[in-house]
């Protein structure tokens, strides 16, 4: 299973969900597959789950999706304990775990290539629906299926390292431009003003 195949399946299911991605490969591939205004493409690691959690808490009636990586989750393991206690029902986290720091270009192994099991850690932290997904058939049923469930989902998708994202043009949308497009989309679909982009 490669990440791009999972993201293709996910992109086909997008309607009004909000999607937060971390750097790096999943950000590039997702921006290529989905041009949706509800995409927030963060330019850094270790922050996507936190930002997605804040969105999920602020907008409990909207489905929020975090697209993250093993390296990024390892950088912010405290998120697991917080999610395990808050359990926002409208949040689904997909962790694309290729076992390497692929973005570094030398692909040295992450801890998940060794003894570390992120899904087990998530379950231990209190996330009830946390599981490892190892093939595309399971991703279709369990992973995509979570989009319609009313429960926090945390899916560690074991993927082969793929360098496909290096062949895809990187998103050229500036972080601020992306933020404003995202917030304007929320204003329009939520029918309310987002406070900080208000008065000029």
């Amino acid at each position: 299973m490669i990440r791009h195949s999972c993201l293709e399946l996910l992109a086909a299911k997008m309607t009004d969900q909000l999607v937060v991605t971390s750097q790096s490969g999943q950000r590039i591939e997702w921006s290529h597959l989905s041009k949706h205004e509800g995409n927030l493409l963060l330019g850094m690691m270790g922050c996507a789950i936190g930002v997605a959690t804040g969105l999920a808490l602020a907008l409990p009636h909207r489905k929020v999706i975090a697209l993250d990586s093993d390296g990024s989750v390892l950088l912010s393991l405290f998120n697991l304990a917080t999610l395990g206690n808050l359990r926002p029902k409208n949040l689904v986290v997909y962790v694309f775990d290729n076992g390497v720091y692929s973005g570094s270009r030398i692909s040295y192994p992450t801890a998940t290539a060794g003894n570390t099991d992120l899904a087990a850690m998530a379950r231990g932290a209190g996330i009830l629906n946390a599981r490892t997904i190892s093939d595309i058939a399971e991703f279709k049923t369990k992973g995509i299926g979570a989009l319609t469930s009313n429960e926090l989902g945390f899916f560690v998708c074991k993927v082969e390292e793929s360098l496909l994202h290096r062949e895809i043009p990187r998103p050229n949308t500036d972080l601020a431009e992306n933020k404003y497009r995202f917030v304007r989309y929320l204003e329009r679909t939520e029918g309310k003003a987002i406070l900080f982009v208000g008065r000029g």
């Binding site: 330019g43 270790g46 789950i49 936190g50 959690t53 969105l55 405290f78 929320l186 987002i194 900080f196």
Partner: protein, 168 residues
């Protein structure tokens, strides 16, 4: 901190439009937590690290909340990465309500805190985060309102560092 100050601080947050607070508790201002917990206008979110207290608050702000993060100043060091890459780089306003341990006006300063306090301002300045040190209750409510307005105008975090009367 006197109960009256804690109540004014919480009412000041509410009056400034704060409706979402993430936190990691500390010693100087902790009396505000039970008050916020019983304040229906403010959603209170416990976190496991100041770094995620910031990112969760940023997400909530993007979702339409007026968010604050309550932390000790040691949390400024812990959260400096997320303050920089989500607060500053992405440009999202959040109010930082900080117990200023070890600063000169900290009434409980000691060798345990002095080093922490000594570097807090330079770290905030290094991050480009504006701040104000609040040592007494005079004009507390307007200082909080001004801070929230400044954060929104700058599209950036703004810090209120509480010491003096707030650290007694």
């Amino acid at each position: 901190m006197r109960d009256e100050l804690a109540q004014r601080l919480v009412q000041g947050l509410k009056g400034a439009g704060i409706d979402f607070v993430t936190y990691l508790p500390e010693t100087r201002l902790s009396q505000i937590l039970p008050l916020i917990r019983t304040e229906p206008a403010i959603e209170l979110i416990p976190t496991s690290s100041e770094q995620e207290a910031v990112t969760i608050a940023v997400g909530a702000t993007l979702g339409g909340k007026q968010a604050a993060v309550y932390m000790e100043n040691t949390g400024v060091y812990v959260s400096s990465y997320s303050l920089l890459v989500t607060g500053k780089q992405l440009g999202v306003p959040i109010l930082l309500v900080i117990g200023y341990l070890g600063g000169v006006p900290d009434q409980r300063n000691s060798f345990l805190y002095a080093t922490i306090g000594k570097h807090t301002i330079s770290v905030l300045e290094g991050l480009g985060i504006e701040y104000q040190i609040v040592e007494e209750g005079e004009k507390l409510e307007s200082k909080i309102c001004d801070a929230v307005r400044a954060a929104n105008a700058q599209r950036a975090p703004y810090a209120l560092l509480f010491a003096g009367e707030f650290s007694e």
